[in-house]
Every structure is written in C-alpha cells, then in structure tokens.
C-alpha cells in the first residue's frame, strides 16, 4: 500500500497530541517570559545603582545563567537539587522557574545597557526640576531606553521559546517529546515519519515566533516615525 507520509498526522489523535504538546511548551515559555521580564527590569534597574556590592552580586547572577548551558540548568534544578534538599517540584514548575531565572538574568543586562545609554544631561535635567530617583526612572530613563531594549528583548524571547525544545530532557511532555513518541510508534508504517513530524514542529515553532518578529518591525517603524517627526 502506498501512502504519503503526511497521513501520519491523521492516524488516531496524533495531530491533536502534537498541538497539545505545543501548548505545554508555549505555556511554560509564556509564564517564564512574563515573570522573567518583570524580574529582569527590576534587576536591570538595580544594576545601575552606585552600590558596588549589589552590582557585583547581580553580575554573578547574570554570568551564572548566561554561561551555564540551559540543559545543565534544567538537570541541576530537576535532578540534582531535589536530591540534596528533599524538595520535589514538578517538571513543569522546574522548567518555568529555570526559564524565568534565565530570562531575568539576560533581561537585566539588556535593561542595564539601555538605561546607561540615556545621555547624562537628560537625568541632570530631570534632577534640576526636582524629580526623585523613582520619578527619574519612570519619566526620563525608562521611556528613552525602551526603544533600545525592544529588539534585544524580542530576540531573547524567541530564544526562550525555541529553547523549550530541551524540555523533553526533564520529562515534560512537550511538542518534541510527543513528536518522538509518534515517530517511533509509527516507524513500521511510516519510514520517513521523522521528516514529517519535525517538519510540522518547525512550522509550529515558526508560528509561535514569527509574530514577535513582526511586532518588533512594527515597533521599529513607529519609533522611526516619532524620531523623524
């Protein structure tokens, strides 16, 4: 019997299972990005303070999450820490936590670089009209640095979304994990099932990430329009 490999998706509930897997990945990525962004903005602002110690500690935090590969972080939080602390979190919680901490670390650096790139005379002018530090941040530095942060933040978000493909390592039933189940279960019938399943996963990730790129373009255009009057 000859059949096209695309039929692999129409066997039983294969397609729905893949979509469900995607939803699991997307949910983890979404929560992690939101939490990470909020924490990252706060930490980023703290990194511009005068206190050397605060800056040093946050710097170590950033370097730790930037240098250690995400796979290692996931393993560390899922398998190694529970062994020592007798603290048992579910795989989804661990995944969200790791991704949020990672997002926050990298976000803090984006925010810091954005903030320090605002010309000094702007903050001086703010001080001159009697703004307190919080007001300075809210009305002077943050609005002016936002446009510098957006491209890097979008880039980071799509990296976080793509990296959810590592979640199968800690037993999260994400889209890749379900895809592998389907490939192996249909190995006899669909010899090139891997091509079709990974092809679909490619399209699904594209659908998740592409709107972000579009949004970034849109923002850049809007920004240019403001600047050019």
């Amino acid at each position: 019997m000859s059949h096209s490999g695309i039929n692999i998706f129409f066997e039983g509930s294969n397609f729905v299972r893949l979509l469900h897997g995607l939803l699991v990945s997307a949910e983890i990525a979404f929560v992690a990005i939101i939490l990470g962004a909020i924490l990252g903005i706060i930490l980023g602002a703290l990194r511009t303070t005068k206190s050397r110690i605060v800056r040093f500690i946050l710097r170590i935090y950033l370097e730790f999450f930037r240098i250690v590969p995400t796979v290692v972080l996931l393993f560390l939080f899922y398998y190694i820490l529970p062994k020592n602390f007798n603290l048992n979190l579910s795989a989804e919680v661990v995944a969200t936590l790791v991704f949020a901490l990672w997002m926050a670390a990298e976000m803090s650096d984006i925010v810091r670089s954005g903030l320090i790139s605002v010309p000094k005379h702007q903050t001086d002018a703010g001080k001159a009209i009697g703004l307190n530090p919080v007001q300075l941040f809210r009305y002077i530095t943050l609005p002016q640095s936002l446009k510098l942060m957006i491209p890097a933040t979008i880039n980071l978000t799509s990296r976080v979304i793509k990296t959810t493909s590592l979640l199968l390592l800690i037993s999260v039933m994400d889209v890749i994990n379900v895809g592998q189940q389907i490939i192996e279960a249909n190995q006899q019938q669909y010899q090139n099932g891997a091509f079709w399943v990974y092809g679909l996963i490619f399209i699904l990730y594209f659908i998740l990430c592409y709107p972000l790129s579009l949004w970034e373009k849109h923002m850049a255009r809007k920004e240019a329009a403001i600047q050019n009057g």
Binding site: I53, V54, Y79, F85, S171
Partner: protein, 284 residues
C-alpha cells in the same frame, strides 16, 4: 546606607553557607523517611513509574495517545496488586538512574538492563526478561553455531554488547557500523555472512525480512531486564522481588509476551527466548 549594605552582604553570605551545609544536614535528617516505601505509596494512592515513550514494543504510545507495551503491562499489574493508581513519568535512557535518585519516580520499568556499574548506584529487583546476543544470517546459508563464524565476516553495531563480545575473537573479521540502519543495509547488500546484535532487536527485524533468520538466538553472557529501585528502599525492593517471582510463576509474563511482543517478532521466536521460565530460580 552603609549599614544596610553590610546587612545585605551578611545575608548573602549566610545564604551561601546554608546552601553548602544544608544538604548534609537534610540528608541525615531524611535518611529514614522513605518517600517510596510500600506504605508511603499506598498512603499516597499512586505509584510513580519511569517508562519509555518511544521504544515499541516495550514502552511506547499508540496513536490514540495511550501507553502500551511489555513494560507498561507490568506497571499496570504492579499498580493493581498494590491497589494504587499508576502515574507514568516518561524518561530517556540516560535519565533513568537520576529519576530514581532524585525521587521523581518510585520504580523504573524501562527496559532497564542489569549491569554491575548500575548496581553500584541503584538496586535491581528480580528480572522479568532476558536478552543476549543473537546472530542473524540468510535462511539459505544459515549460521547456527558460533564455530561456523570462523574465517567469516560479521557485522556489528558500535557500542553494543555484541561488539565487545566479538572483538576478542581472532578468527572472525568484525565489521563495525554506526547505526542500526547502516548495519542492516550492509547485511542485505551481502557485505558479510552474518550480523550480531541484541536478540530482541533481531527478533523484530526478521519479522519483516523473511529471507533471514536468527540462527543463533542466544550467545555470550545472558543479560537481564529488571525493575530499578532506589538504593536503600528495601521495603519496595522486597515487595517487587516477591511480586515478580509470583507473576513469573503465574505465567503473567508469557501472557504479556503474547499480548505485546509476539506480533512484533518473527514466527520462529518463542516466549521462552525472552521470558524467564516459570520455575526460574531467582536466588541465583
């Protein structure tokens, strides 16, 4: 301001010290609370079982999204006999030991081969399946004894027990291949007279390749597949030992073989090639 900073640094320093000291403290404090003991599992009402999701016919997921396979059937039976629900945690081959040691699962039923290295970090209960090296050859030119291989070429897959076993044999020319696909293609193209690999793979392969047969079904040291249990969890280990013994005696695994494996294997393979005999002596 300075004072606040000092306090902050002190807090961080304390946190670091605690992190380095706590594991040792908690390890001793929790040494006798076993979260995976039989009574703890019964109290919880669920047993967490590590299984494969991509290894048909041992542990896989069918198109309706239901878990199936030889290992899954055993997991269900264990759940039934304990009177608890079964919660499956899907693992990969290399995370089976970690899943046990970090209390993610109570028991591993994922085609877990007993080896001396693994025995040092986890415990194995009584085995429920046996595997060994098998040799597949053309039906028209069968190889049924190891001595027939002398002076001939033999195909193996790198990193398998077959490779280790045949490497030391001087009279046999061993051809090594990187993947299963490559090695089977080489055999089909007639590059060698036979191919050696885990018999459980070969049994499935000959099913779809009628011109070939597993002439030598078992060779070399027998290896066993057994449930993996965290070291020190004697309560569950003893229970599982008894359970596997009882199930073997009752012929559970023969039924399991018929339901889950038979259809994947060639017609000349019998249950006794994989399943332990009903009167198997587990004390060995």
């Amino acid at each position: 301001m300075k004072k606040k900073l000092f306090k902050f640094v002190l807090a961080i320093a304390t946190a670091f010290t605690l992190i380095s000291v706590l594991p040792a403290a908690t390890a001793t404090a929790h040494a006798d609370t076993n979260n995976s003991s039989v009574s703890a599992i019964k109290k919880r009402g669920t047993i967490k079982v590590a299984v494969f999701g991509d290894l048909p016919p041992y542990g896989w997921v069918n198109k309706a999204g239901t878990r199936k396979g030889y290992d899954i059937a055993l997991a269900k039976q264990i759940g039934k006999d304990l009177g608890v629900k079964v919660k499956y945690v899907q693992v990969n081959a290399d995370s089976r030991v970690d899943a046990l040691n970090s209390n993610k699962v109570d028991i591993v039923l994922a085609n877990f081969t007993v080896t001396d290295e693994r025995k040092q970090v986890i415990d194995f209960a009584n085995p429920y399946m046996k595997v060994a090296i098998g040799v597949v050859s053309k039906k028209s030119n069968p190889i049924t004894k190891e001595s027939q291989l002398n002076g001939k070429k033999l195909i193996v897959n790198k990193g398998t027990t077959a490779e280790t076993y045949f490497e030391s044999k001087k009279n046999i020319t061993v051809q090594k291949y990187d993947s299963k696909t490559q090695q089977f293609n080489a055999l089909k193209n007639g590059r060698a007279s036979a191919l050696a690999d885990d018999n459980s793979y070969l049994f499935a392969w000959v099913k779809n390749h009628k011109n070939y047969e597993v002439g030598i079904k078992t060779l070399g040291p027998s290896q066993y597949i057994a449930p993996g249990i965290k070291k020190g969890n004697t309560s569950l280990l003893n229970w599982t030992n008894k359970e596997v013994k009882k199930l073997t005696k009752d012929g559970f695994f023969e039924t399991d073989y018929k339901n889950n494996l038979k259809q994947y294997f060639g017609s000349d393979i019998k249950a006794s090639d994989i399943v332990l005999a009903k009167d198997y002596d587990f004390s060995k």
